[in-house]
Amino acid sequence: MDPDKPLQSLSESELSSARWGGRAGAEQETYRREQERQRHEDQRRLEERQRSSGGRRLGAGPASGIGIGWLWDLFLLALPVIVLVAVVVGLARGTTWLAEESLLAPLFPAPGDSPARYLLSVVTLLILVPGSLGVLAARLQPTPLRLPARIILMPAAVLLVPVVCYVTQVTATADLIRLPS
């Protein structure tokens, strides 16, 4: 038997003779394989159990309705992406562009607006920008993307709150003439 052959590629009988031969690491390899088998066994039993006693649980029975969750996910993804692009481009081009030409322009308060409109603008922007990012992050929690959601989307959402407040303050005090409307 080749003593340099890596332990992972040994067959069961080779591993057994290597263990009796006192080769270093053979015990650990045996234990690792045992654990692996145990895990597979656990998995199998779990699934078997779900088939037998699972019928009495709350989640029993087929899922109701047809899955249209992807539609909602698409919407949730599109909304913050559009808003984020608008905000980033706006920060690059200056708040004037953001308040006059962007898709979000009507949401930013202008000089001469009533307090009610200012408040509603800020609330709507907060719902659209950090709010949709937060919902998206929460939506990603049960998926493999939960870590990026937690370390990128959530801080971005929190940071955007003061940004939104600042930009609304800037647009509300901009040098702008109101036409009668």
Binding site: E27, Y31, E34, Q38, D42, Q43, R45, L46, E47, R49, Q50, S53, G54, R56, R57, L58, G59, G61, A63, S64, G65, I66, I68, L71, W72, F75, T96, A99, E100, E101, L103, A105, P106, L107, A110, G112, S114, A116, R117, L120, T124, I127, P142, A174, D175, L176, I177, R178, L179, P180, S181
Partner: protein, 284 residues
């Protein structure tokens, strides 16, 4: 009076209520979309209104009316209408989760606020030299107002199927467990049990099986002590909970003994390992 009405609403069977909710959410959403597209400004001077931001030759930037889609305010009502339509689809498919109600209520409130604001302010802004246009809210504002109210009706009548949320949580925990994400599955299952504490309450026999499933998840990630403690706690008063359901008690007992057996096997494996590797006393 109010409670009598509430009782009446609650007594109506869920499918009918779901249909009412889906219908009013869909109708409200359609009206919101329609109202956003229709003109928001009416009156003798409606043709003279400038919409959005413009550059004037003499004074630089100027801002005209923001009413309607051409002004931009109607984008919010349009968005709210689309959201209401999507959620109406969910209610139509028989789903009644809590976030659906929250979403519909939020969309309705936001659309209502913008429509009311426009209704109050159209024609209020004077030009630089104090001149005003003779305009008022158009048909679009009223259609959007009515649509927003319908969406709020949908939120008010939304069926609250608490068990639906629990079923979704249970399935999610199962899927996570099947994908081998043991700790995430435990998190969901714990969330499920926390929520179910109020309704349907611990006395529901199905929760016994949910708790036993949590114990199984504990075992799958190696928390033997927690699993055993949980099985012990759950089965402690199982007799009382399954007073008139011998079959259920038998199933729960079988599951519990299987769990304990597996916990023993895991402990034995640990003892075996400790014996072989570090010379601890051999397992009995």
């Amino acid at each position: 009076m109010t409670s009598a009405v509430l009782n009446l609403v609650n007594r109506v069977r869920l499918p009918l209520r779901g249909l009412l909710t889906a219908g009013s959410a869909a109708g409200g959403g359609l009206l919101l979309v329609l109202g956003s597209v229709l003109p928001w400004v009416a009156g003798p001077d409606a043709g003279a209104v400038t919409y959005g931001a413009v550059e004037t030759a003499t004074d630089g930037s100027a801002l005209g009316s923001r009413a309607g889609l051409s002004g931009g305010d109607a984008f919010v009502t349009l968005l709210a209408g689309l959201v209401a339509l999507v959620v109406a689809g969910w209610y139509g498919l028989g789903r009644a989760r809590r976030w659906q109600q929250v979403t519909v209520a939020g969309a309705g409130l936001l659309a209502l606020a913008w429509a009311v604001l426009n209704h109050a302010e159209i024609g209020d802004v004077a030009g630089p030299d104090g001149d005003r246009l003779d305009i008022g809210p158009g048909v679009g504002v009223y259609v959007a107002l009515f649509g927003a109210l319908l969406v709020l009706v949908a939120a008010g009548t939304a069926p609250r199927d608490v068990e639906h949320d629990l079923r979704v949580l249970a399935r999610r925990a199962e899927r996570l467990a099947q994908r081998g994400l043991g700790f995430e599955a435990i998190e969901k299952q714990q969330q499920l049990l926390r929520r179910a504490r109020r309704r349907p309450g611990w006395q529901d026999p199905r929760l016994t099986f949910e708790a036993l499933f949590l114990a199984r998840l504990y075992l799958a990630v190696g928390h033997v002590d927690r699993a055993v403690q949980l099985v012990h706690d759950v089965m402690g008063d199982a007799q009382r909970r399954f007073a008139d359901d011998e079959e259920g008690l038998a199933a729960a007992t079988a599951e519990a003994s299987d769990l304990i057996g597996e916990a023993n096997a895991q402990l034995a494996a640990v003892q075996q390992f400790a014996h072989q590797q570090y010379g601890y006393p051999p397992p009995r």
